[in-house]
Symmetry: C2
Subunit: 326 residues, 2 copies
């Protein structure tokens, strides 16, 4: 039986490959969004196509929270900050009496939210700075290996959207260079983006705090300071893209008003361009939110999608499955 | 005669290819520096080598001024700033009476130098900001196409060091990703580094000014503001490297004290690493300068080279030729 069995295996494998080649986006339903993606890629990569764009210029930028992985009920990095604060609390008895730390420690999210951007910044500085870049990388990696999402009871990196991972792979197979452009922390993402999305550290752009070069015990380190360096959100995204990449993307993918300026910068430049918004419409399999969301609000960018002919993904109808583990 | 002539051509071409394969660094003399480079690359790329490093981690960073192209008698970007100031002077009659502009317009380099970093910053802000990123790129490209170096009467981009271009090509052929990490302006380099060095814009790191995203006449632009964003020199180089690349290089190449911290950050991290300093020792073919140079001073880094076992290139003896046009 062995030869026949091997033969069957070989055939199955060959069939799987043929299927994959025929359908590069197997987790996408065959709707308008899928067709728009395929049509754009064919137009800019086809030799002799009037819209042909050389590989070096095929830059595609992806938001992270809500575009590549889950951002509800609160962004993953905020959960990380809260967990880390609890771990650090014994060394900071004053946090029991000081806001926003008191609210954060007590799980009082309403008071924490009321502390606004300033309170959030205090929380981030207290938990994300005061160590070397190497130490911070280890802290993030250790946390991700142990932390579990409350709803799916899985590591957060399992909550990456399978259709978007397929899209990243498909674009790279067509000569695109894929970048992440996130409002989240650049050093919070870099330890795992290559493994999860196939995006190496040098293609990750995000918000950052200042670092300082120091010699410690005869070895050079970069020490993380409690001072904002760059806020890579909204109008900051085109600035960050230009700073890191030095070219204008030809395709951009987002899900919220924080991505509006990146989509404008990418698509309103003449030539064939592609903008896409992931619209969270699936409360059953993931979450449903848009104009009234406290994090990941999609309001102005949803209106702009119509006038700019950006593709809007209806998560419920356009995606066959959301996660690889389904 | 044609077939025989073609045959001879073919043979010559085949011979040239064989030679190139046998000697990847044809403009380098066979000395200790060349051997150190070849030995390092063999050690980190050889399958089964105890010092093997996977391709994704083969990051090499190069300073630009004085390492990849000529920086004497004054850095190219300073010549650009002075030329641009002269072109802008009719719109700024007040410059005739205000320092450092008066000195710059009169070619009084002594007074200009005495104005220090503050004066230089004023000069840069006046000439490098107040336009969109697209406009600035065009200004740089136009200037480079017309400007000629006073000594060789050639475009500045012809003054790239041929041995270093061969080194960039050689490293990339061995799976390295090559980055420029310069104290010079990031947007001053990006328009031409791909053509001259084979380094694309997204692999160029440099000093920068702040930009702001704006909609102008319905089109998105990034406007260049007269405010420093980042000084990518000395202790700033490891910071810039971490910000852009997010990995520690395994090889770094510089020529001055401005590169000391980059060399420390790269080589003092354990594992097989490589540091190299280009020592300008050839007044006849290029320039000779080190500890007392006003720009491109090499003093502390030259001392550090000994204790850290960095390779020091003696330009006069290690390089067969300096420029491609020789």
């Amino acid at each position: 039986m062995l030869p026949a069995f091997s033969g069957a295996l070989f055939s199955a494998s060959a069939f799987a490959q043929t299927t994959a080649a025929a359908d590069p986006l197997p987790s996408w339903n065959d709707g308008a969004a899928t067709q728009a993606i395929l049509s754009f890629v064919a137009a800019v990569t086809g030799e002799g196509s009037p819209d042909f764009i050389p590989p070096a210029q095929r830059i595609a930028t992806f938001d992270n929270d809500g575009t590549l992985w889950v951002e509800q009920p609160i962004p993953v990095q905020l959960t990380f900050a809260l967990d880390r604060m609890k771990a650090m609390a014994p060394l900071h008895p004053e946090w029991k009496y000081t806001q926003p730390f008191k609210a954060a420690l007590e799980g009082d999210m309403k008071t924490l939210a009321a502390s606004g951007d300033h309170g959030l910044a205090e929380l981030v500085m207290a938990t994300h700075t005061g160590m070397t870049t190497e130490q911070f990388e280890k802290i993030v990696t250790d946390w991700l290996s142990k932390a579990r999402d409350a709803r799916w009871k899985r590591p957060y990196t399992d909550l990456a959207y399978q259709p978007m991972i397929e899209l990243l792979v498909y674009l790279r197979a067509n000569g695109f260079k894929t970048f992440i452009v996130s409002g989240g922390g650049i050093e919070f993402m870099r330890p795992w983006t290559e493994r999860v999305y196939g995006v190496p550290p040098e293609q990750v752009i995000g918000s950052s705090i200042k670092t300082r070069f120091q010699m410690r015990d005869g070895r050079p380190v970069l020490f993380r300071l409690p001072e904002l360096n760059f806020n890579d959100d909204k109008a900051g995204k085109p600035v960050g893209i230009n700073q890191h990449i030095g070219r204008r993307p030809i395709a951009a993918f987002g899900n919220s008003d924080g991505d509006l300026e990146m989509l404008q910068w990418t698509t309103m430049a003449g030539g064939r361009r592609f903008g896409l918004i992931v619209h969270h419409t699936d409360a059953e399999r993931e979450y449903a939110y848009d104009r009234n969301a406290s994090s990941g609000r999609l309001d102005k960018a949803l209106d702009a999608a119509t006038s700019n002919k950006w593709t809007v993904v209806d998560m419920k109808n356009d995606w066959k499955r959301i996660f690889a583990f389904e």
